[in-house]
Symmetry: C2
Amino acid sequence: MPETRLDTARIRAARRVIDPIFLDTPLYRCEALEPHLGCAVSVKLETANPVRSFKGRGTELVADQLADTGPRAAVCASVGNLGQALAWSGRKRGLDIAVVASRHATAAKLDRIRALGAKLELVDGDHELARARASAIAQRDGIRLVEDSLDIETCEGAATIGLELADAAPSFDTVLIALGGGAMATGVGHVLKTLAPNVEVVCVQPVGAPAMTRSWHERRVVTTDTIDTIADGVAGRCPIPEVLDDLLVVADDAVLVAEASIVAGMRLLHDHAGLIVEPSAALGIAAVLENRDRFADRHVVTIVCGSNVDVNAYHRWISPA
Amino acid sequence: MPETRLDTARIRAARRVIDPIFLDTPLYRCEALEPHLGCAVSVKLETANPVRSFKGRGTELVADQLADTGPRAAVCASVGNLGQALAWSGRKRGLDIAVVASRHATAAKLDRIRALGAKLELVDGDHELARARASAIAQRDGIRLVEDSLDIETCEGAATIGLELADAAPSFDTVLIALGGGAMATGVGHVLKTLAPNVEVVCVQPVGAPAMTRSWHERRVVTTDTIDTIADGVAGRCPIPEVLDDLLVVADDAVLVAEASIVAGMRLLHDHAGLIVEPSAALGIAAVLENRDRFADRHVVTIVCGSNVDVNAYHRWISPA
């Protein structure tokens, strides 16, 4: 049993709180992808829901708690998907939600956050500045600060994906998980190491935003000064120590991939799986492209964690060369 | 209770036979689409499975029957999705599957049929010629002929979508169903008229392949000489009388849409719902675009029935004007 901040019984209980619209998502083989990747590939699809990412699983837990006992108001920093999901879960329960984001965040995500009725504040800086600002707002207004990956609900929500994967194990060998703050990797990893310990847990991060991966390899928090990736969903510079501790327990490996591989992954998923994915959701395919020998003849599951793309950028990424 | 060839108890029983990978598909609001359509829109997503269309629901029933009692071999005519699904269901059970298709069918669909191990025969003509050829093969070889929409299993399989929609009613007012041979329209229509009779059942067909819609309006079989539409999945010329009889019982309306609206629908689903859909799967959105007043302030569900597109054509359809 992995010793982390997570608890499998609590994760099972979380399923009863989360709106079913986010649960029991499709998991299926994509054979048309396989000649291009040299291994068996299944997709766990987290985009066919009202916020087009897996984040609703966690925000449902946060919002349910706030609706029961909290200040009925919350603020989070977000590169887009957490904010959108928190806005959705909050609106459903009549909560006041504020989101702080970088001015450089994907416009389509910011539009959706506004459309869902959240108050949106933009900061002139990157996600780490947005985190600081959200913290200041929470303190000033006495409302709940939702910290992605640090707050256990965000990990427990993501971990429910792990329960669904464990039900399908041992049909697959490896799960590829996009690594950003670490909620998904630690949540899914905890459950798999508990219920399906033979499944290999591989985290994938862009070379241009490698802080958590470097931290995992060095077994200590490593921060970076800059971020340079199209994978906005996983673009943090300052790993959270508690999350790193959990990741060290549950991850079998953490690998970095190049931007070109992320784009190639998005294009493969578009052309051969019929899926629109945001860059973060193509990290798993990118990892296979860069490590064909390692994954040859294995059966990998990649979690397609979001599809919120800027349409113009997306057209450029997937247009034929 | 609508009097059709279908029976709701048999449809419920079908759920126990169909591989769960095809069942309980996502059904969710797409609010980002709504400003463009002037009504509430939910999507029933039938593309997140190994064959990327709803057809597996029906072919699972056919193949299960053959594996139990039949000749362990079958042939069908297909514009692509039925053949792919029958090949998948047949391979799973070790059956011999042959598919007859027009030489002009979407290449990507034909590739997938071959990759799934079915024998593929191409005819120099349209789908109606493929139907005749499949019938001749069945007679010659003494194997099962699978006739889409005529064979009750194809309707019952599609009808299981109706059960899932009925569970969600009365949260929506109208369901928009792509109309081709009629399996999906009669199957889903039968269940909704039985379990959720207040839901309006609207069938949608392209102006360029209007045979079944004209037949429904004239209450008699009307055939057409030619087909001119990109919506290959619904492109028949010769409606089947038994299917028309059922459609007359369960459909509230049947409408035709222009090719430009189908393309506009595909683009809206791409840009605002993050979904790759084949032309047939955009018919519902096309119908809303052409009848804004009619659907204003209603809540429509559109069944996104397939995503098997030719990648090059798709890039042309959705590329920015």
